[in-house]
C-alpha cells in the first residue's frame, strides 16, 4: 500500500482506537486532549513517512508515537498531570509510572465503552451522532457539517455542548451493568442506525463521504457483534439491515451523482457478498424471543435484495411493514407500507389507505399518491407530483420529481 492510501486507511481503523484508549486513560472529561494527541500522531506519520517511507509495522509505530506524545504532554503540563495522574494511580496502584495500555483487549473495551458514553441518554440524538462521527470515526468538523447539511459553527457548538454535558453528567467510560445494558444498548443501536441513515439517505452531494459514514456505522455495529456482552439479536439484525442496504450503494447513484430509484437500478451492481453477509447476520439474529424493529427492517431489506417483482415478495414486505408499524409508528414506514400495499394488492386499495395518512406536509406523501394515480388518473398524478415539487427541499428530490412530471407530460 502506498502512503497516500496507507495513512487514510490507518486513520480509519486506528484513530478511534488511540482516542478511545487515551480517553479512557485521561477520563472522558479530557476527551479533546486524547483527540488532539491522536491527530498529532497521524500528522507526524504523514510528514515522516513521506520522507522516510512507511515503517515495517505502521500500527506499532503509531502506538509508540501516541504513547510518547502522551508522556510528553503529561511532562509538559504539570497541572493536567496532577489532575489525571491521581486517577491513573487509582487505576494502577502498584505502578507509579504512568502506563498507556495498548493491549488488544483494552483497545476493544475502550472503544465499546466510548460508544456507550457517547450514546448517553442525557445527550440529544443529533449530538450523539455528531460525537460518534468526530470521536469514533475521526471525521473533521467540515465533513460532519457537510454530512448534516449544515455549517461549521452549528457543528462546533453542538459538539462543545455535548462535551460539556458529558462533563456535567460525569459520564464515565465503563460498561453499563447487567440491569442497564439492554436499555443503553438500545440507545447505542438507535444512534448507529441513524448514523447509517445519515449516510444512506442524506441529501449531501458528496457520495464518497456518505458512503464513508455508512461504512463507519457498519464497523461500529460489527464491533458490537464481536463482543460477547453486546452480541445480541437486535445488534445482529441491525448489521444485517445495514448490509442489505449497503449492497445497493453502487447502483443507487449514476456517474453524474444523481439518485437512481430502486426499480430502475442495475442489479448486477448490487454487492452479492454483502447480501450474503447480511443473510448470515439475520440468521444469527434469529434467536431468543425478541422481535425488534431491526429484525423487521432487516427482513424488508432482505426482500429488496431480490430483484424479481413477484406478488410473494411484496406480500412479505407488506406484512413486515404492518408489524413494524404496529411496533412503532414512523411516517416513512407508513408511506412505504402503502407502496407495498399497491404492489401486493392493488393501486386502488393503496390510494384508499394513502388518503387516510395525514401526512400532507411531507413531499414523499404527495410523490407516493402521484405514483399511485399514474395510469389511473394522470391529471391527478400530475397535481400530486407538482405538490410534491413545491414541498421537496433537496436538489436530488427535486430532480427526480421534475423527471417524473416530464414523463407524465410525454404520455399525456
Amino acid at each position: 500500500m502506498e502512503n497516500q492510501e496507507l495513512i487514510p486507511h490507518l486513520f480509519r481503523t486506528e484513530y478511534r482506537k488511540i482516542t478511545a484508549v487515551l480517553g479512557k486513560t485521561f477520563g472522558l472529561e479530557h476527551i479533546e486532549i486524547a483527540q488532539d494527541i491522536a491527530s498529532d500522531t497521524f500528522l507526524l506519520a504523514s510528514e515522516m513517512w513521506a520522507i522516510k517511507g512507511a515503517p515495517d509495522n505502521p500500527v506499532a509505530w503509531l502506538y509508540t508515537v501516541a504513547r510518547n506524545k502522551t508522556l510528553d504532554y503529561l511532562r509538559r503540563d504539570k497541572l493536567f498531570k496532577e489532575k489525571v495522574s491521581g486517577q491513573l494511580v487509582r487505576n494502577n496502584p502498584v505502578d507509579d509510572e504512568i502506563d498507556i495500555d495498548l493491549s488488544a483487549r483494552n483497545i476493544t473495551d475502550s472503544q465499546l465503552q466510548m460508544m456507550f458514553a457517547i450514546c448517553h441518554p442525557s445527550l440529544p440524538v443529533e449530538s450523539q451522532i455528531g460525537l460518534a462521527l468526530n470521536v469514533l470515526c475521526g471525521f473533521g468538523i467540515n465533513e460532519i457539517a457537510s454530512a448534516f447539511l449544515t455549517n461549521k459553527e452549528t457543528i462546533n457548538k453542538r459538539l462543545y455542548r455535548a462535551r460539556e454535558k458529558l462533563r456535567a453528567e460525569q459520564v464515565k467510560m465503563e460498561f453499563p451493568d447487567e440491569t442497564e445494558i439492554e436499555l443503553r444498548l438500545e440507545a447505542v443501536l438507535k444512534t448507529l442506525y441513524l448514523l447509517f441513515n445519515e449516510g444512506f439517505y442524506s441529501a449531501g452531494k458528496d457520495v464518497t463521504l456518505r458512503k464513508d459514514v455508512c461504512i463507519e456505522a457498519m464497523w461500529l455495529t460489527k464491533m458490537l457483534t464481536e463482543n460477547p456482552g453486546t452480541d445480541r439479536p437486535p445488534v445482529n439484525a441491525l448489521l444485517a439491515l445495514m448490509c442489505f442496504h449497503a449492497s445497493r450503494f453502487e447502483a443507487r447513484t449514476n456517474p453524474e451523482g444523481e439518485t437512481v430509484l430502486y426499480q430502475d437500478q442495475d442489479d448486477s451492481l448490487w454487492d452479492a457478498a454483502l447480501i450474503s453477509r447480511g443473510e448470515c447476520y439475520l440468521n444469527r439474529a434469529s434467536v431468543g424471543r425478541q422481535l425488534s424493529r431491526y429484525h423487521l427492517e432487516a427482513a424488508i431489506g432482505y426482500w429488496h435484495t431480490i430483484k424479481a417483482d413477484t406478488p410473494e415478495k411484496w406480500e412479505h414486505i407488506l406484512q413486515y411493514y404492518n408489524q413494524l408499524l404496529i411496533l412503532e409508528y414512523s411516517p416513512i414506514a407508513a408511506l412505504n407500507r402503502t407502496y407495498a400495499l399497491a404492489k401486493a394488492r392493488s393501486k386502488a386499495d393503496a390510494i384508499r389507505e394513502a388518503e387516510k395518512l395525514n401526512l400532507a406536509e411531507n413531499h414523499l406523501y404527495h410523490s407516493l399518491l402521484g405514483e399511485l394515480y399514474l395510469g389511473i388518473d394522470d391529471v391527478k398524478a400530475l397535481e400530486y407530483f407538482n405538490a410534491a415539487l413545491g414541498l421537496a427541499k433537496s436538489r436530488a428530490d427535486r430532480l427526480l420529481l421534475v423527471e417524473k412530471i416530464r414523463k407524465v407530460g410525454e404520455v399525456g
Binding site: N283, Q290, I306, L325, T338, L341, N358
Partner: protein, 149 residues
C-alpha cells in the same frame, strides 16, 4: 433463499410470544398531540367455533386480513395499543364466590380480543371499526370511548 430460512423459522416461533407484550406507542402520542383526540377500545366478539373450524390456509388468510387492517390503523399513527388475543377457556367468579367455567364455548358472542385506537370522535372510531375483518366472519366490534381517570 437459503440464507433466509433461519429467520422465517424464528419468526414462526416468535409470533405468539411477541403478541403477548402490549406496546404503548409513545411515538404516536407524540405525533398526535391534539386535545380533541380520544382513545377507544375495540372489543372483538365472535363465535369461537368459527376460528376453530378454519384450515391452516384459511387461518393464514385471516391473519393477513387482520394484519392489513391493524397495520392500516398503525400507518395513520392511530394505534395506541396493539392489544391481545384472549384464550377461549376461562372462569367467571359470581356473587358468593361461586366460580363457573366461562360459558364461552356455547356463546356466539365470546370476547376474543381487543385493541386500543385513537380517534377524534366516536363516529371516526366507528368508521375505523367498519374495516375490521371480523365483520365478514360473523363477528362484531364494540367501540367504547375510554375515560382516563
Amino acid at each position: 433463499m437459503g440464507g433466509f430460512t433461519g429467520f422465517m423459522i424464528f419468526l414462526k416461533k416468535i409470533k405468539l410470544l411477541s403478541s403477548r407484550a402490549p406496546v404503548i406507542r409513545q411515538q404516536a402520542l407524540k405525533l398526535k398531540p391534539y386535545i380533541t383526540m380520544k382513545d377507544f377500545l375495540f372489543v372483538f366478539r365472535n363465535d369461537p367455533a368459527v376460528m376453530a373450524g378454519m384450515s391452516p390456509a384459511e387461518l393464514q388468510t385471516s391473519m393477513k386480513k387482520w394484519m392489513d387492517w391493524i397495520g392500516g390503523i398503525a400507518a395513520q399513527g392511530n394505534l395506541v395499543d396493539r392489544g391481545n388475543q384472549l384464550a377461549n377457556e376461562g372462569n367467571v367468579v359470581r356473587p358468593a364466590k361461586v366460580v363457573t367455567d366461562g360459558p364461552y364455548i356455547e356463546t356466539k358472542e365470546s370476547v376474543g380480543g381487543f385493541i386500543m385506537v385513537r380517534a377524534e370522535s366516536l363516529d371516526e372510531a366507528t368508521e375505523m371499526a367498519k374495516g375490521c375483518p371480523i365483520l365478514s366472519a360473523g363477528g362484531n366490534v364494540e367501540v367504547r370511548p375510554i375515560i382516563r381517570m
